[in-house]
Point group: C2
Chain length 244, copies 2
Amino acid sequence: MQLFYNPDITPNAYCTLDAEESRHAVRVLRMREGDELNVTDGRGALYRCNIIQADSGKCIVESVSKLSTLNSQLSTIHLAVAPTKNPSRMEWLVEKAVEIGVGEITLLDCDHSERTFLKTDRLEKLAVSAMKQSLHTVLPKINPAVKLRDWLNSTQPFSHSATQPLKFIAHCEADQPRVPLASALLPGRDVVVLIGPEGDFSGDEIALALECGFQPVSLGSARLRTETAALYAVTAFNLINDRI
Amino acid sequence: MQLFYNPDITPNAYCTLDAEESRHAVRVLRMREGDELNVTDGRGALYRCNIIQADSGKCIVESVSKLSTLNSQLSTIHLAVAPTKNPSRMEWLVEKAVEIGVGEITLLDCDHSERTFLKTDRLEKLAVSAMKQSLHTVLPKINPAVKLRDWLNSTQPFSHSATQPLKFIAHCEADQPRVPLASALLPGRDVVVLIGPEGDFSGDEIALALECGFQPVSLGSARLRTETAALYAVTAFNLINDRI
């Protein structure tokens, strides 16, 4: 099955696919007027559509039936991660995290970050592509880099959530008490997890996170790269919640 | 900590690091005669060594004490996976699987493979690098591509194992009975898992694997890419065994 994406799609209405989606449907897949395709709004709804006008620049489709809606009560994981020095490692992470299942990604600018900034537009494109590839119907929000201190002081992550999310910081200070992430996760609960840069979080950042109610967790004895640690957290969350 | 690798290292003896390891120690890290470093043999043993001759082409070290030996009773996972069309995806998989923890990797040539061959020397280099990065002391064996049929007919994977390993095939035929991999894994048991190419296993291959005692498993409702499915299996194995 090929999945298409249009954030503006609504029930029983026309909508125009963007240039890339139109090209893919009409030029690559050679779809024609009357052909059926599936379109998600990236917020959990999936529609069966018919092609009304097979234009490879702006393909017009009509949504004829709603196939499914994601259960909005499902718990999600918010991954807050320091960009790696090598941007391709972050691109890889976004693709894999979306395939496995992630609710939101925030880039963190930390005291020991070697890269404090990363353009989100390329990451967003990769997220759309991974969502379609994996047949997910929710496009995770990707937030541009923010100072970890500011984020901890100002944000209430998952403010939409009825219950407070589980909040974890995965730091590498072996002499401080930490519990294994896998045993700290609970089924059905939203999660926010902080993953630090190559040089780990600073002592000040760890102290501030603990003050803000984050539990310190470890990811085992292996020394995982930033992007591996982040994907591990996302995979463990989905396993605990029986999603994969 | 910097970890070095030399398969020939033995207790209380001299050994010469290869050109790349020597260059890394002497040229990059500027280590000198008398400096201490840790060297693994890639088979689970870790030695504290002193540098005897800091030659950037062939650095000679003496092993002075054995720091640890991996418990050889620990269960392992043997990942048998069809190479992806894009070789960089396999390179990524090898790096990540070694970081998370994998015992052996076999490349499979399947009926629907778009790539039936991949040189293992580059993958082996990546595996050494990932082992050192993650501070593991076991270098997984990487076996060159073999026809899945021949492998199933001839091999007894994990013949060294006291108990028969759990054997899984992760195929995508939704109309055939499959159990979720996460619930089929058992702590303490060796595992062999087959991951197919982009076009999935053929019906004949699935039938043969079932005849050979492989249990069909699913990896959830998301459509995972080959390399994502493979890393998911490795992560689930390590989670079940409390390794991470």
